[in-house]
C-alpha cells in the first residue's frame, strides 16, 4: 500500500515535524533551536542528525588511515614446527586458495576486502553527493546507504577467526598462533565504518536533491 504525499512534496523538517531517530515517531517541533525530547522514547529530537556530515567524514577518515596498517601489518603469525609465518589479510586469503578452500577463500575475500572497501567508497560517494547537491539517482543512493548499513558487521569474521585460533593453538614450537597488529587496526576499520554509517543522515540525500537548504 502506498501512502499519499502532502500536496506539494514537503519534507517534515520544512513543515516543522521531526522524525525521531530512535523510535521513528513524528513529532511537531516548536522551535528548531530549543532542546526538545521525544514523547515516546525520550530521545533528543532533531530535524537532522547534528553535524552529520562532519562526524561521518571524521570517522571515515579515521577508517581510511587505519586501513593502511590493517593491510600492511600481519593479522596473525602461525608457527609450525618452529617456523613462524606472518599472515596479512591478503596472504591469509592466498593461503586458503592454495589449500583449495575456494568457498572459504571467497567468503573471507568478501568480508575482509570487498565489504570494507565498498563501504568506505560508498560513504565517500554519499557524502560528496550531499555536499555537491546532486539530484542524480537519489532513490538508488538511498538504497545504497541502507545496504552498507547492513553489511558492515560481516567484516568481523577475520577477528573472530583469529580469536579462536589464538585460544586453541598454543603448543609452543610445534604449533602456535599469535595475533598481529594488523588485526587491531582492522577491527578499528570495521568499528569506525559502522559508526560512520550511523552518523550519516540519509535524509540529507533528499534535501540535496530538493535543493532546499536545511
Amino acid at each position: 500500500m502506498q501512502s499519499t504525499p502532502a500536496p506539494a512534496a514537503t519534507s517534515g523538517a520544512a513543515a516543522g515535524y521531526a522524525s525521531c531517530r530512535t523510535c521513528h515517531a513524528t513529532v511537531g517541533v516548536r522551535d528548531a533551536r530549543a532542546r526538545q525530547y521525544c514523547p515516546v522514547c525520550h530521545g533528543r529530537l532533531a530535524l537532522r542528525v547534528p553535524l552529520s556530515l562532519q562526524r561521518t567524514w571524521a570517522l571515515l577518515l579515521t577508517a581510511v588511515i587505519c586501513y593502511v596498517p590493517a593491510n600492511l601489518y600481519p593479522i596473525m603469525t602461525v608457527t609450525r614446527l618452529g617456523r613462524g609465518q606472518p599472515d596479512t589479510i591478503v596472504s591469509g586469503i592466498v593461503h586458503l586458495v592454495h589449500d583449495g578452500q575456494w568457498p572459504i577463500a571467497l567468503l573471507v575475500f568478501f568480508a575482509s576486502i570487498v565489504v570494507p572497501v565498498a563501504k568506505i567508497a560508498a560513504l565517500v560517494l554519499l557524502l560528496v553527493s550531499v555536499q555537491g547537491r546532486w539530484r542524480w539517482r537519489v532513490a538508488e543512493r538511498a538504497r545504497l546507504y541502507r545496504f552498507i548499513d547492513v553489511i558492515g558487521r560481516w567484516s568481523m569474521i577475520d577477528i573472530f577467526m583469529i580469536s579462536i585460533l589464538v585460544a586453541l593453538v598454543h603448543l609452543g614450537a610445534v604449533a602456535n598462533v599469535s595475533p598481529g597488529l594488523g588485526a587491531a587496526f582492522f577491527s578499528a576499520v570495521v568499528l569506525t565504518t559502522m559508526l560512520a554509517a550511523t552518523t550519516f543522515d540519509p535524509r540529507l540525500l533528499w534535501d540535496a536533491a530538493d535543493d532546499r537548504p536545511r
Partner: protein, 200 residues
C-alpha cells in the same frame, strides 16, 4: 495509531498521510518506498520466547567449546571467553575488549533487555522502566554479532583442518541455532514502540 495519520518518512523525511494498512501489511513511503511500520504491534509472547531461548543458547555457547583439536596426542579446546583471554594474554587488549563486547556482552544484554521489556509491557509495569529497557534493546541490537561469530568459527575450522584433527564443539551448534532463530524472528522495533505508546 489513528487511520490516515500524518507521518514523516524516517529515511527521506517526506511528509505524508499514511492510510491504515490492512493487517499483515505495511504502508510504504510514497517517495523512497521504505516500510513505514506504522500499523503493527509486536507480539510480546513471541519476543519473550525468542529472548528466553537465546539466553539459554548463550549459556551453552559460553559454557562449552566452539572447536576442539588434537595434535601429537595433545587435546585443546576453546570457548568464546578463551578467545578473549588469549587476546588479553597476548597484550592485544583492544581486541580482547572488542570480542568480549560484540560476541558475549551485547548479545546477552540485548536478549535480556528484550525479555525485560516484553515482561514489563505485558504486565503494564512502570512506563519509564519499560521505556528504558526498550531503549537498551534497540541500541544494543546492531552490536550483537553472533551470526558473524558463527562464520568466523567456520573459517577457523577450515584453517585448522590441514594442521590437525578438529572437532566442532557444542557452542558452535548453539551459535548456529541463535543465528537461525534471529533471522527467523527478527522484527522491526517500531512494533515495540507502538506497544509502549499503548501503555499510557
Amino acid at each position: 495509531m489513528a487511520a490516515s495519520a500524518v507521518e514523516t518518512c524516517p529515511e527521506c523525511d517526506l511528509l505524508q498521510r499514511v492510510p491504515a494498512a490492512p493487517a499483515g501489511t505495511d504502508a510504504r513511503c510514497a517517495r523512497c518506498g521504505v516500510a513505514l511500520h506504522v500499523s503493527p504491534r509486536s507480539d510480546l509472547g513471541r519476543d519473550a520466547a525468542w529472548a528466553l531461548t537465546t539466553l539459554v543458547l548463550l549459556v551453552i555457547a559460553n559454557a562449552f567449546p566452539i572447536l576442539e583439536f588434537e595434535l601429537n596426542g595433545r587435546r585443546e579446546a576453546a570457548t568464546v571467553v578463551d578467545g578473549v583471554i588469549a587476546f588479553w594474554l597476548e597484550q592485544r587488549y583492544e581486541l580482547a575488549l572488542v570480542v568480549l563486547a560484540v560476541a558475549v556482552v551485547a548479545p546477552a544484554m540485548h536478549a535480556a533487555s528484550v525479555l525485560a521489556r516484553s515482561w514489563l509491557i505485558a504486565r503494564r509495569g512502570r512506563r519509564a522502566t519499560a521505556r528504558n529497557w526498550t531503549l537498551w534493546s534497540v541500541r544494543l541490537a546492531p552490536w550483537g554479532m553472533t551470526e558473524v561469530y558463527l562464520l568466523g568459527a567456520l573459517v577457523a575450522f577450515v584453517k585448522l583442518d590441514d594442521l590437525a584433527s578438529v572437532v566442532v564443539g557444542p557452542a558452535l551448534y548453539a551459535f548456529a541455532a541463535m543465528s537461525i532463530l534471529t533471522a527467523w524472528t527478527s522484527t522491526h522495533a517500531a512494533g515495540v514502540w507502538a506497544r509502549l505508546r499503548d501503555l499510557e
